[in-house]
Structure formats: structure tokens, C-alpha cells
Symmetry: none
Subunit: 248 residues, 2 copies
Amino acid sequence: MLKKERQAFILRQVSLHNSVLSADLSNSINVSEDTIRRDLNELADHGKLIKVHGGALSKSFNSFYLRSDVYNADSKKIIAEKAVSLIQDGMFVLTGGGTTVIEMARMLPENLKATFLTGSIPAAYEYAQHPNIDVIFIGDKIAKKSQIAIGGEAITKLKHIKADLCFLGMNALDMEHGITDNDWDVAQLKKAMIESSSKTIVMTISEKLNSSQRIKVCNIDEIDILITELAPTNILLEPFRKNGITIF
Amino acid sequence: MLKKERQAFILRQVSLHNSVLSADLSNSINVSEDTIRRDLNELADHGKLIKVHGGALSKSFNSFYLRSDVYNADSKKIIAEKAVSLIQDGMFVLTGGGTTVIEMARMLPENLKATFLTGSIPAAYEYAQHPNIDVIFIGDKIAKKSQIAIGGEAITKLKHIKADLCFLGMNALDMEHGITDNDWDVAQLKKAMIESSSKTIVMTISEKLNSSQRIKVCNIDEIDILITELAPTNILLEPFRKNGITIF
DNA sequence: AATAATTATGCAACAATTTGCAGCTTTTAA
DNA sequence: TTAAAAGCTGCAAATTGTTGCATAATTATT
């Protein structure tokens, strides 16, 4: 096998699997690992792949994980836009405090007149900036990590409220486990928020679909509307639609 | 799995869920927690995430509130420094929400352990950032102008509270009219706050001394301590000292 | 075609990196 | 204050890399 063939083979493997191990290549081509290493170094020098300890990575793989910030921000803006379109004048809107919610708060149209209820400091801050929105803060004791109000007081107060819409950003969502979270207090609060609203709207980027965490919030069937950055027709969302959830 | 892949996976988890636990990662990737910890430290060194005890946080999750320049920032910093020195571990501290209070919130020493009560969204946000401070938010309906909670609910809640210190930023202060304000709701709230605290500390830049506004909050004699940017011996402050107010 | 020059490959010894573990310290939460 | 969880440090084992060198393969030149 010629050197060029070998390197072509390596490149194909990399683009196929996103990563290769020197040992595997050495095995499948029957050359010493030294040769493989030299090939990898050469290809890396020419910018064809990224050499790492033990093997190599595809370049696209690497750039993917480097720009994940921007990528997510875009998704969240798409989600926020869809969410905003559901809010109408005069509504009582209950929201959580995730980054997606914040994004939505910033996109609320200036002329919207509504009342927003939240237990999140950052969210309340955004709502308070808005010229025509009334803000009601729920609860008193603030959890440092999540910067939202937690505990019995907040939940008690929620029980006396009936909002039209409830917007929740989600950490994890899957058909089997429903909505799950990794913080007990937050989970309790979300549960109470869902019960205090006529409609529950879950916002999440598609990558959080089909993942789960330790603490259960509620079952899939408590969700009325699901908003992701994907087109509503996307195949990934099909199982949720089949369970009676409206997809936006 | 290559080290870089693993770290990419970690970054993805962090950007997805905003936080990760070392133990969870160790489980899902099947490497020791030591390795995870080393990865997290490495990623933190490169500024890709924020390492915390037990796991890591997404970097983009923090910092919504941007530091804007405020009028007379220098004077307010001097005032804030003096104010901070009055707070001791374990105290219950009630505060308003002016720019001076925000400045004070930012200067609280890291190791201070205290409970702060406030009806101001920006103040609550600052307190929530602090590692050792418990935050209790007072009230529910938020006034747009001042971004503080107003109304009967807040005042009722204040009646059930007895704080050690009450820090108030003031709009106007003069010997004859006492503390005055230009917003009825805010004045009511300040009144209630003063009544709910053992000691009332008024913070104001000197140019607001000897000015008055339309709505009365309280008389001079309800003030225990007055903090300005001036030296305590300044002639301007003499009349207040003579009225039994401690000057800082 | 023969030979010299260049390049590629494998080997071996040594260097560096990575990883898990054990003992001990620090932090956290009750 | 105390017990559990997490972190740190040093260390050892395994894996991976590097370098120099000998040998084989390829190319160029006469």
C-alpha cells in the first residue's frame, strides 16, 4: 500500500468516525504505529486533521465543539421568537428563569401589555425593563445557584395563582422519564408552576431531547406545547406530537 | 475515547444543562472522577467553563447585569465602603434599591455570611451573586420605575420582619422636613423598612443634603447613622450630629 | 541497467502523557 | 460541630511519542 493511499484511507476513516486511534489504524493497515503516527503528523501539518495523543480527530468535529456557544445562542433566539408569538395582550404569564426564558424576555415586543410572574431574579430584571409589562415576583428566599426563589413560600404562593401560560426552559426531556431536572428545589417549583397554569409550554434546544436527569418534574402528558429550534415537522419531534403535544 | 473527545463531550453537557456533576460525568464516560476533575480543571484553565466544588458550570450562564456607569460613582463607592464596614457576620440586613445600595452590594467581602432582605430586583441580583449571602426577596408586585416591590403585600411582609440594619439610599434629606421622596409607594415602603429595623442607616451623596421633596418618609430623629462621601468632621454634617445622628 | 541519492519504514531505547489509586486535606451540608 | 463528599498530591503502571539509526524501497542520474 502506497503512502498516499494509506493517508487517503486514514482521512476517510477520520471523516467517517470523527476520530481514529493510532493502534486501530496500525492494525487495519498492517504497518507500524510509528508509520501511522508519522502519517498523522504529516496530515496534521497540512491541516487535514487534528492530531491528539493516541490518535487524531476530524477538523469538523473540533470546530463543532469550539463554537457551541454561538450555535446554542442562535437556537435559543429561534425558540424565543416562537415563544413570544404565543403571548397576547392581557395574558398572565408565568415563567421560569433559564437562559432561554431570558432570551424570550428580551424579545418581547414593546407594545405588548401583559403581566409576567416569575421567581427568577434575572428574568424579573428583564421584565422590569419593559415599558408595558407588569411584573410580579413570586416567593422570597432565593437559591444562589439558580437565582430563583425556592421553597414552601414560593410554592404556596403559586397555588393561589392561575396563569394563562407557563413558559419553562428545560434541562432534560424524554418520552420515558418526562421532564427531569438535577436540582430538587427547582423541580418542585417547576411542578408547582405547571399546576398553576392553563397551558404549559416547554422550551428546549433539540439536543436536550431524549436526555434525562435525576429528579422528575412531570410526565410528558402534562406538556401542552413544545418549542424547539427545529422545524415542527422534524422527525425528532414526531414521538412528542403523537403523544398529543402541540409542536411549534 | 480520546481525551479531547471526552472534553468535548463534557463541554457539550455543560452547554446543554448549564451545570454538570463530576460523579455523573464519571459514570457516563466510565473514567475515574480524578480524570474528570483533571479535565474540568484543564477546561477551566482555558476559560471554557467554570469549575466549582463537585462539578462545573457553563460560563455563559452568569453575568446578565452589566455594570453601567452611574452618576457620582466615586462618591458612591466611598459611601459603599463605609457602609460595608458596618455589617457583621450573621446579621439580618434590610436594604432598598438605589445605586448606592447596588454599589455596596458589589463591595461585600467574600467571606461575609449574612442574610439580606430587599425588595429591589437589581439589589437582589447582586446579593444572589455572593457566595455566602442568603437573599430574601420582599414583596411581589414590582414598580417599573424603581424596580422595587411596592404595595400592601410588601409592607405587610415587612411588618413581620425585624432586621438588624436597614440601609437606605436617599433622594433628599434636610433638617426641617426629614427624609422625603417623590414617589408615594416608595415612601411608604421606606417608612415600613425603617420601622422593621433596629438601626436605620441613611446613605446619600452630600449634594442631596438640605434638599427636600414632596412626600415625607420620616423625621430626622428616626435615623441612627448617616453616611456620606464627606469626612465625618465636615461642617456640613454638624447639624445632623447635633441631632443625635452618628456620622460615618 | 547500474549506481548514487533520496525517501520511507521499522526497531529499540528513552521520554512524555495519561490514568487510576491511596492517603491525606479541604469543603460542604446537616 | 461533625460526617460525608470532593479535592489534592505523589506515585506507579500503561500507553503513547520521540529520536537516532539501520534497512528497505523508490527515484534520479549517468
